[in-house]
């Protein structure tokens, strides 16, 4: 019995792993992602064009407070007005009327080229600051230059957060947690789709080439389905492991390329960090960056994250790929048919992804808790939350319950899919309705 599942699993695994597309996708996908990130960062840096804003100021003092920089340049030239600002090379015109104290007054921006949300709030902040600075100057005669130097020398405190784990307090990093959470959740989302769809295509292939009936006269339909699911899952795990190996070796390689003296400075900086100082004397900014980055890499609990990732990847994969297998067995040659039947299975996956992006902003909230316990969404949402800390953000009971429910969930979907598959794989002709599939699952 299990011997036959093993035979089928092995065939699924070896035929896929030996395929050239497996090697290509394993090594090209990370390269493509790296390339994509590099190019998009590069484009966003290139594309950060300067906004040239003409200012018509009825108060007369903004000229002293609004300073041009790389993102916005202000032009106070008196011959500018709302009609000719564009001709004179400005992208927008800011009209500030007299702003009397104790009364909200509206000032306006007219533009040719839109400032993004970020640009608008940046501009607003600068104007608010200018008003405050001007009022301080008016009421206390502290000059702008004095204020600036105070601000500069006041930059002496830096917040570091620690996760309280009883005896020890572990350094935490919200940025790192968020980034890792996003990456884990997105990876599970992608892998569920890639390998779930592979299972569905495999089942459809067996059905349309009519090999299914030949094989089913040797093994039980359930064994054929399970062998396929396990074989493709093993391909997924192999691919993931290769990625981990690839990343780790790339990181080691990168570390090897950093010159020795900088590494010494990095060690110094790390010591300084441990002693509660933000920067050690005589350490170059490059070394500080490296120290910051290694700190970033060292904060999360990688062992736990890797374990949970494997668990939720396998659990989520079994949960969804069984459903994909059931759909593959039900459809005929028609790809459109498959797509319409797939929708109820893909919707929860896509939903989970959206929930994950919302939950990342408040990983301890109600939505996050429930979505990471229910098996439909738990693989993606829980993986988004775990990097924020266990048992801090995710208490042990939540993790345990979520894992147990996921196991129960995939046992159920595999059982149900087995019933649908058994009937569907030998049915040709009409596309089954949801009602008939329900009958196959629960009545036959």
């Amino acid at each position: 019995m299990s011997n036959k599942i093993w035979l089928i699993t092995r065939r699924e695994y070896t035929t896929r792993v030996r395929n050239k597309t497996f090697l290509l996708s394993t090594f090209l996908l990370p390269l493509a992602i790296i390339l994509f990130i590099t190019v998009s960062v590069w484009i966003s840096l290139q594309g950060k064009s300067q906004h040239r804003i003409a200012v018509i100021d009825a108060n007369g003092y903004f000229k002293d407070y609004l300073k041009s920089d790389s993102s916005i340049s202000f032009n106070f030239s008196p011959e500018l007005d709302t009609l000719n600002y564009a001709e004179k090379g400005n992208t927008a015109v800011l009209i500030i009327p007299v702003l009397p104290e104790g009364q909200k007054t509206i000032y306006r921006l007219k533009y040719k080229k839109q400032l993004a949300l970020e640009g608008i709030s940046d501009l607003q902040g600068r104007i608010d600051n200018a008003i405050v600075d001007h009022m301080i100057y008016q009421k206390t005669s502290v000059s702008r230059a004095k204020l600036d130097s105070v601000r500069k020398s006041a930059d002496i405190a830096e917040l570091r957060s620690y996760e309280d784990q009883g005896k020890i307090a572990k350094a935490s990093n919200q940025g790192a947690s968020t980034a890792i959470g996003y990456i884990c959740g997105t990876l599970i989302y992608m892998l569920t789709f890639i390998y779930g769809a592979a299972v569905m295509r495999g089942v459809m292939e067996e059905k349309t080439t009519r090999i299914a009936e030949v094989v089913i006269s040797s093994v039980k339909p359930f064994q054929l389905m399970m062998g396929k699911i396990l074989g493709i899952g093993a391909v997924g795990l192999t691919q993931f492991m290769l990625w981990v190996v690839l990343l780790v070796s790339l990181a080691l390689l990168a570390q090897g390329l950093i010159p020795h003296d900088i590494m010494m400075e990095v060690a110094k900086q790390q010591q300084a960090n441990a002693m509660g100082m933000s920067s050690a004397p005589g350490v170059s900014s490059a070394a500080q960056k490296v120290a910051e980055f290694t700190g970033f890499l060292n904060t999360p609990n990688w062992g736990l994250i890797l374990f949970c990732f494997l668990f939720y990847f396998i659990g989520g994969y079994l949960f969804y790929s069984a459903l994909f297998a059931a759909i593959g067995s039900a459809v005929n040659e028609d790809v459109q048919e498959a797509q319409s039947l797939m929708l109820p299975v893909t919707m929860p996956v896509i939903f989970s992804f959206f929930i994950m992006t919302i939950v990342m902003r408040d990983p301890g909230g109600q939505l996050g808790v429930w979505a990471s316990i229910i098996p439909f969404s738990s693989p993606i949402v829980m993986m988004g939350r775990i990097p924020f800390g266990v048992p801090g953000t995710v208490p042990w009971w939540q993790l345990g319950l979520s894992m147990m429910l996921l196991v129960a969930g995939f046992i159920f979907t595999v059982w149900m899919a087995g019933k649908i598959y058994r009937t569907g794989i030998l049915m040709y002709g009409k596309k089954p309705t949801w009602r008939t599939m329900w009958k196959w699952a629960f009545k036959a």
Binding site: T15, T209, E213, V215
Partner: protein, 312 residues
Amino acid sequence: MDILQVNHLKKYFSSQRAVDSISFNLSKGSIFGLLGPNGAGKTTLIRMITGIFYPDEGEILFEGSPFDPKNDITHIGYMPEERGLYKKMRIGEQAVYLAQLKGLSKQEATQKVKEWFVKFEMQSWWSKKVEDLSKGMGQKLQFVTTVLHEPKLIILDEPFSGLDPVNSNLIKDEIYALARKGSTIIFSTHRMEQVEEICDHIILVNRGQKILDGSVAGVKQQFKENLFSIGLEGTGNSSSTTAKAFEVVGNKEGSLIVKIRDGYRSNDVLSHFINEGQNITAFTEILPSLNDIFIRLVEGTPLARQFQPTTA
């Protein structure tokens, strides 16, 4: 000894009594023809015998004990009508894989596949893919994978479709050879001339029920119409012959076709012509072909099987 006994087998689907109480026995080493029009329930019957479907009622005995799909399945080789192979898999590996699924070890399977490939002159195919094969070549490969594990019971559904006469004969000879070695063969087809040539025993299924069961010769006897062909020297206007014992129903290639009336024997026909002084050159009984019997029995039932309620 009977290798297979099927007793009152029933399988009802929601809108169809696919198999409605069919029984038959199958003796070891025989070549058995399972005939019936499209949709008669043959495939459903075969799927129950191969353990793909569970019967609703009735029992199957395999070598005298109740059929246990888990173990007995390894003694069955089934080539379905709708058959296929993994297109992207190498042919040798595929044959070995399918044999392994039937319980052979890898060495055993590899050795057997090699033997069969030599026998069918397919050695050069080993590392080709199925998608490179023609339909007929695929068919040969499929046959090899069906019989490779030396099953006691071989079920072939339309095994000759898509094969040229040379390859058909190759497969036919193998079927005889397998039967001689003790395998029992169930042969399902619409091609009556093949059944007549190959099978010892047939059953005819229509609308889920067995309507005919017997040896090929016996069935022909059962359906004979007392037709004889008589060759007469210098036949002139004897086609207008009238006699008490028979009537002339036709004239074919210089021979008279006569039908003997009830209560008379063939000798009465001969005496008639001898008495007339005619010289008889040939006298043979005309037996119906299976094709005629098939058409006669199946004709009159609707061409397409109608859906029927199963609450009976």
